[in-house]
Subunit: 380 residues, 2 copies
């Protein structure tokens, strides 16, 4: 049980980044990818921060994966010049992409239809700018892409090639790995993800088409894959911070989670066992990713101000700027006895979602001292 | 069914604000409060934008209600000098509040315990700054505040008064009104909310204590209250934009919703009936407030680019930057036949949550033309 300690002269809520944990998480991923003999193109959508990205990238110029052109602009302005924009390209964004390319930013697109490729080819002709794109493969039915073995693959590849679009490779994202509980299930999904793109690459190459890059990416599959034979690069992002969803899958422990929200006790409803804090859903995000897991962590798992988990205490309910801490059991007798003014840290369900609620990170070193403030580049 | 129209040269996703709808919503609230003979202290936590607040406030100086000191700073910098900070004060924020007061910003605090009042009194003494605070009343058991009739009320009022804290009044928020379906239930909740604070104010006054302000606030109760006798001011915020949660309660129609997310079709999974757009949960927020209502609107209700509802089409699933549009029935045969590049608008579940994902509004006039960009002041 924490004392009435206030180690941080920070106005709450504040987003804390434990760099010791982050460095450990990065080392773990790099070791794994090195063992598998595959290149790393880290996804920066989780961190949206050049200081974090510099610790992830192989060189100051990249490579990285981005989820928005706003990220592309920001990282380009910070010297990164090798990017994959891993969302199927909207025709209305092509002029923006062309402007980035014209400034020397090597940005590769993705698409999964002749319809989209036609837009790209038309724009390339009218603008005089040439583009590179990968074909998105759907390895697990969860989102976009051509299904494994889809009859549309070769016609699309031939169309792109004939239209002068540089066929940069194939890519997929095993989003379903976020629903795989336990190592064995994640390993099987990693193999499914690998096979989907390696098969597609093989089909394109057998048809005489180029397919230099074979790209996969999700934190669980990257960390548990036993082989990535035939894969050339891995995109993964959330591992840098981890979160309660990843801990619930067994991908990390709660003591690997590098991101937390510092909050302050502002009141109680003692007969209900409630401790009220100033971190509501605006501070935690509305993400309830653990709701479908075995252990529902509410809006976040409560720690003392030094980051030690107060076992069983979660943000059970949330209003916009109010979090209601209660014991997971719902038992009022288990109320936390914490004075008004006590600081706590809350571990988030989903690092991407919680991070996006903040304009900046408050950066802590291994001793828990604040050493810096790093800006996030949110929005579009 | 919309054509392949792209009325906006905007990169998507973008947050659209229909000012004609907003002005109608504001007029409706002002008419109602005028009829009830009660003052308006609009809550700006939904809009976080001075251009919107200026249309809500009685004078350029206020009054307003804020949910963060970051809002307080921003609105003060824009000339607003009468504010209620409607979250129980954390002791660590008192120096910041004192700095605002010293600059002539009249900011009233709230609290609900002698413990919090003691912090305030101690800080006032050590800083030489005097403070005003209201006592928070819990009218419906959903969050903070002293329960109606709580024995702690008079001791707290006397303590504040004796310690030199200006007892500014009593306030409550009927958050449970968001779960009241239909006019009758909301009316009953409005009366419960009114009675809670009027009773508390009466008890304080009977004990010889001052209680100038009697403050209530929630969009549903404000719009459906039949009497606010004894109440001096109403705080309400979400009405300015409305959203699908409010529409689901019968508080507004979907054609009153002034906020929407402009998005672009980027692909399909035709055999599943899916249309993929570039508005995922980052663009809509993770708020699933309609999930518990009779009509679950997924991550948002789909409209054509001009804002006409495409009945039954919702953002059924969402990844970070991908939304999956499907018919509410789940029937793949009802797939939208929309070309890649088509723009759509998505109405949000919760205006406060969706708005907070964006740094700015793209402002539309009654003809749907873009007339301005207004900045939002997010974060802490």
């Amino acid at each position: 049980m924490p004392g009435n300690t206030s180690p941080y002269a920070l106005e709450t809520p504040a987003l804390l980044l434990d760099t010791a944990r982050m460095e450990r998480n990065i080392a773990r991923m790099k070791t794994q990818l090195s063992r598998l003999g595959v290149a790393f193109r880290p996804h920066v959508k989780t961190n949206k921060c050049i200081e974090v990205a510099r610790r992830l990238m192989g060189t100051p110029e990249g490579p990285i994966t981005v989820s928005t052109l706003h990220e592309a602009e920001y990282f380009a302005a910070n010297g990164v010049h090798d990017m994959l924009y891993a969302v199927a390209i909207a025709p209305g964004k092509l002029a923006h992409v062309a402007a980035l390319l014209a400034r020397g930013v090597r940005i590769t697109l993705i698409l999964d239809s002749i319809e989209a490729a036609q837009h790209l080819a038309d724009f390339a002709r009218s603008s005089g700018q040439s583009f590179a794109a990968m074909i998105e493969i759907d390895c697990d039915g969860h989102r976009s892409g051509l299904a494994t073995g889809a009859a549309e693959l070769l016609p699309l590849g031939r169309f792109m090639h004939a239209q002068g679009i540089t066929l940069a490779g194939v890519m997929t994202h095993a989003g379903s790995s976020y629903n795989c509980v336990g190592t064995e299930a994640i390993r099987a999904m990693a193999e499914q993800e690998r096979l989907a793109v390696v098969t597609a690459a093989g089909a394109l190459r057998a048809a005489g088409l180029p397919c230099p890059a074979v790209s996969v990416g999700s934190t669980p599959t990257a960390l548990f894959a036993q082989s990535l034979e035939g894969v050339t690069e891995v995109r993964a992002g959330v591992f840098v911070f981890f979160d309660l969803v990843m801990a619930g899958l067994g991908v990390c422990g709660t003591d690997d989670i590098a991101l937390s929200v510092l909050t302050t006790v502002i009141g109680h409803q003692r007969e209900k066992g409630w401790t009220i804090v100033d971190a509501g859903w605006m501070a935690m995000s509305r993400d309830r990713g653990t709701a479908a897991q075995v252990l529902d962590q509410g809006y976040g798992l409560v720690c003392d101000a030094q980051g030690r988990v107060l076992d069983g205490y979660i943000v059970a309910q949330a209003n916009q700027e109010h979090g209601i801490i209660a014991h997971r059991s719902g038992d009022p007798a288990k109320a936390l006895a914490l004075a008004v003014g006590t600081q706590l840290r809350i571990l988030p369900n989903h690092a991407c979602a919680t991070g996006a609620q903040y304009p900046r990170y408050t950066v802590l070193n291994a001793s828990g001292d604040v050493t810096a403030t790093w800006t996030r580049n949110n929005g579009w």
